[in-house]
Every structure is written in structure tokens, then in C-alpha cells.
């Protein structure tokens, strides 16, 4: 696939939240405030890109040659968990302000299915190294974009009079549904 169309697709038409449903928990949980949403988005993007590169190398240079591809799931989740820990330690050591901003989101990222999902998709789709980079960065941008847009819409909804049964999650899901419709319409142009 053409790299540019892969990039655009991973941001818009193949958006990981709205078409693959990855990372729904932070999407629903942290995105009721605009600022939190942006912080979460940036933290996830950082971890996704870094772990994509590392798991890709592990898969093709360690797991495949040693004929142990079936260990993929376990090895990937361990890599992501330790990576998140290392990133947390480094940020804490060198940038107190950044740690204050992103710190609380980092532990949550380990169990964010978007990270494990993207690293597995990189392998399952048989991407080359460059394609993998483009796809991971594109998906991260798509994640941040959607989670940010969604948070601004939700802040607006909170000021409106929604029927009691629909308050909170139900109206959020219906909003997400409309966003998914809009994003999927980019396919036809």
C-alpha cells in the first residue's frame, strides 16, 4: 500500500478507536475533560510508537528465528509493561513538569488495548519497517485527534439537559456513534 494513503487511512478511515474499537476504556474514562484527553493522547502516542519499534524488532530478530512466534502475546505485553515503567522513571528523573502532566496516565497505558493492539496489527498485517512506523504514528495521531475532539463535545454535552437514563456513558456512546459515521464517510470522499 502507498505510504501516504496508509498514513491518512490510519488517522481517519481506519481510526483505531472508531473502527477497531481499541482503547475504548481511556476514550470513555479520561476524555470528559479536554486537558486530560490531550495528555492521555500524547502519552499513548509516545508509548505506542516506541513499543511498536521494539516489539517489531523483537518479533523479527528474536521470536521468528528461534521459531517461537506463539510467544508473541506474552512477550509483547511484558515488553510494553516494562517500557511503560522505564519511560515513567526517565520522565520522573529528567522532567518534573512533564511527569506532573503525564505521570498519572502512564500506569494506565499498560492495560490500554490500543498499544498491544497496534503492535499485534503491525505483525499480523505483515508491514515492512517503514510501513510499521507510518502506521503506528498515524494511529497515534488518530487516537489523539479523536479523543481530543470527543472530549470537547462531551464538555459541551455536560451543559445540556440530557434525559436521566442517557446521562454519562449512554450519551457518550451515541456521540461516538455519530463520530464513527462521520469518519467512515471519508472513504467515499
Amino acid at each position: 500500500m502507498n505510504l501516504i494513503s496508509l498514513f491518512v487511512a490510519s488517522i481517519l478511515t481506519q481510526n483505531i478507536i472508531l473502527t477497531k474499537f481499541l482503547g475504548i476504556c481511556p476514550f470513555m474514562g479520561t476524555s470528559s475533560k479536554e486537558k486530560n484527553a490531550l495528555g492521555m493522547g500524547i502519552a499513548v502516542s509516545f508509548v505506542v510508537t516506541l513499543s511498536s519499534i521494539i516489539t517489531y524488532l523483537i518479533n523479527y530478530y528474536i521470536l521468528i528465528p528461534s521459531d517461537s512466534g506463539y510467544l508473541k502475546t506474552i512477550v509483547f505485553i511484558l515488553t510494553i509493561a516494562s517500557l511503560v515503567q522505564i519511560v515513567e522513571i526517565i520522565i520522573k528523573r529528567y522532567s518534573k513538569t512533564l511527569y506532573k502532566e503525564l505521570g498519572i496516565y502512564l500506569p494506565l497505558i499498560t492495560t490500554n488495548c490500543a498499544v498491544l493492539g497496534i503492535t499485534l496489527l503491525n505483525i499480523n498485517n505483515g508491514y515492512s519497517f517503514i510501513e510499521m512506523l507510518v502506521f503506528s504514528v498515524g494511529s497515534s495521531i488518530g487516537f489523539t485527534l479523536v479523543i481530543y475532539l470527543f472530549s470537547t463535545i462531551r464538555e459541551y454535552i455536560q451543559t445540556k439537559n440530557v434525559p436521566v437514563s442517557f446521562r454519562g456513558y449512554p450519551i457518550a456512546f451515541i456521540t461516538a456513534s455519530i463520530m464513527a459515521l462521520v469518519f467512515s464517510r471519508y472513504i467515499g470522499g
Binding site: 472508531l18 473502527t19 477497531k20 474499537f21 481499541l22 482503547g23 475504548i24 476504556c25 470513555m28 506463539y70 510467544l71 508473541k72 502475546t73 506474552i74 505485553i77 511484558l78 509493561a81 499498560t110 492495560t111 490500554n112 488495548c113 498491544l116 493492539g117 499485534l120 496489527l121 499480523n124 436521566v164 437514563s165 442517557f166 446521562r167 456513558y169 449512554p170 450519551i171 457518550a172 456512546f173 451515541i174 461516538a176 456513534s177 455519530i178 464513527a180 459515521l181 467512515s184
Partner: protein, 212 residues
Amino acid sequence: MKRILNGIIKENPTFVLLLGLCPALAVTTKFETAYMMGICVLVIVTLSNLIISIIKNLVSDTVRIPTYILIIGSLVTVIEILLERYVPKLYSALGIYLPLIVVNCIVLGRALSVASKESVKNSFLDGIGIGLGFSLALMLISFIREVLGTGMISLIDSISGIVGFKLVLRVLPNTSLFPNSIFVSPAGAFLTLGFLIALFNYLKSRKVGEEK
């Protein structure tokens, strides 16, 4: 019995706790894949609850979460290998959502909140209850989506029909409004789940009102 019902109704993972939503939205385009996913999660959450409640006193607090993730990861890998070998169609239908059970908040959530505290028997029953609650929720969502989206319902189709027996029923006649393919698209998944949670909220608030 009370334990099991608790997982199905009062603490339904999908509609009440809102955990493990990725698979609930992704594999529910077809009734058949939905209940197959339900069974996989039922097996994994029951076994992980059982194992973790047995070893809970051997694991120190600092390494608790990594240990649990490893146990769950191993269980998922075993299921993956078995499915790939014996039911390859199901394996490819579930795709990445099968390995993603590792990071499914239901399994880890139950491990931390129930299995690491309660007795072996209670944890085991809780696993069965939560697994059943999850399966039923998935079946309900996929039933609505498949019927409204295609007009058909696939009780036994290509994946589970190992014996070559198929059971796909046409439930809804073709009209100008239905079947509507929006329900099998991602947007329909969000819409269906949104309305179902609203319905659950409504039923809950009515029950609370009656008790007063």
C-alpha cells in the same frame, strides 16, 4: 448460585461495570462470533480466578500485577494455540481480539478485586458468573446488531458448524428501512451499546424508585 447471578445481573461486566468494551463492540457483528468470544472469555476468567486465588498467598504485593498478567497471558496463549490448531476459522474470525483478552479489564479487574481476596470456591464461582454475564451481554448486543443489520440470525454457521450443520434464520422481512447495514458498521456498535446501557440505567432507576 448468588455469586453467579451477581456476575450476570448486578455486576454485569458490560452494562454495569463497563469493562472489556473493546471485544463487546468489535466481535458483535455476528451472533456466532459473539458467543464464541463469550465462551473464550468465560474459560479464561474462570481459570485465571481459580489459579490466582490458589496462589494469592505466595505472591507479594510488589509483583502482584506483573504476575497476574503473566498468568492471564499464558492462559490466553494456550487458548490461542488450541483454537489455531482445532478451530482455525474461529481463530481468524476473532483476529487480534483473541490475544487482546490479555489486556481485557474484566479478567485483570476480577483478579485484583475478587481472586486476590476471596476463597478459592468464591473466586471460581465469580469467574463463571462474570464470564456468563459477559457472554450474555455479547449475545444480546450481537442479536440486535445482526437482526437489524442483515435481517438474519446465525445460530450455527460456518465457524461452529464443525459437523456441517448450519442454522441461519431469516428473522426480519426486507423492508425499505430494515435491514440497515449501519447496524453492522462500527457506528451501529456504539449506537446499540449506548441504547442498551441507557435501558439498563432506566430499569435500575425504576427498581430503586419502587423500593422507596
